[in-house]
Symmetry: C2
Subunit: 214 residues, 2 copies
């Protein structure tokens, strides 16, 4: 532990999934800011609208930093969402992830966020997972990834990938436990009255693989 807090960069993009982002951030922002702080980043600083598979009108959040002025990142959080499809074709996003993940201690994704990491080539040679409904979207980004179909989340060194949406909360608590100890994670889960699913390998949704494939 250094004297400086670790900095977690949460990467926003148009059409990000609300709970992919704010479930994990609820947990990460409950860690003492002396040891961990969250910054909100997007390609350009300013307003970023969330997305929904139902195509509903969605809330807007603010990126405090753009890719060009984001601080050094110790941790990176990449959400999924309907906007993933567009970002897979966004070279600036893929370059940012590639550059920053190389220097980061942990890069974590939720849901279809792992498709972006895979497209950037970051998961090659690693085990990883993705959301159930669009699992093939991740798989088709790289055949050099050991894709795990049944997992709430997968930790493989510096890359931690979770299953769909809500699984990101369980993954975030596992990352907090790894970095700051299990007691910190347990206290945060209790404070949020969150029933933490602690087993990475127990995945009640594995049976629905690719039901949403398009």
């Amino acid at each position: 532990m250094t004297d400086q807090p670790l900095i977690l960069g949460a990467v926003l993009y148009e059409g990000f999934e609300l709970l992919d982002m704010f479930g994990p951030l609820e947990m990460f922002t409950a860690v003492a800011p002396e040891v961990l702080q969250v910054v909100m980043i997007a390609e350009k600083k300013g307003a970023v609208k969330a997305g929904s598979m139902a195509n509903s009108p969605m809330p807007t959040c603010i990126a405090d930093y753009g890719f060009d002025d984001a601080p050094d990142l110790d941790l990176i959080l990449v959400p999924g969402g309907i906007g993933t499809f567009a970002e897979l074709e966004n070279d600036k996003m893929l370059s940012f992830l590639r550059d920053r993940a190389e220097k980061a201690q942990i890069t974590a994704s939720v849901c279809s966020g792992s498709a972006l990491l895979a497209k950037a080539g970051l998961l090659d040679g690693h085990r990883a997972t993705s959301n159930k409904m669009f699992f093939n979207l991740a798989v088709t980004q790289s055949d050099k990834v050991a894709w795990i179909e049944a997992a709430r989340w997968v930790e493989d060194g510096k890359f931690v990938t979770s299953s769909g949406v809500s699984a990101g909360i369980d993954m975030a608590l596992a990352i907090i436990a790894r970095l700051f100890g299990n007691e910190v994670a347990e206290t945060i889960a209790k404070g949020a009255e969150y029933i933490w699913h602690r087993e990475a390998d127990v995945d009640p949704f594995a049976q629905y693989l690719n039901e949403g494939s398009i």
Copy 2:
């Protein structure tokens, strides 16, 4: 069901708890927008910063409407958070909740949001619950409320109140089931890979009552 979608007003204020708001909104925005749409409201439209018990730097979100130009609301969602303490002294907030809850079909709160509903007098004569850590904050707002200590959430007619933070997600799914049918709620929970705690009376956190009292 009318031809117009129901409008859910999500009430932001400085220091709102992230997951209190965006857990339920993940579920509500997964309902077809033809039958339900979410609008983000605050006292004044524009940027509103979330809060954290850990006093961490927090994300900012946008209120698309102020109290003065918010549309008619069929549903109201009131989050809790560290900002609740200040809002208990904000007459504009209490008046807004009082005026709008009277006309709404359902007014729902998460966590310490029920303290605001109680202070506004809305819960008098009703059963209600609140978060565990600051349960007394809600209780001390009104002695005319039947406060339920052990409940994931409590439905009493048009008022639905949940326990702390994560319990709001379970409550949101119950409201969706009540309005649109159980199958809709189950499909949404599955899509979000959310392990829905369906029993309102089962509360694994009841043992921690008032541990955070100040």
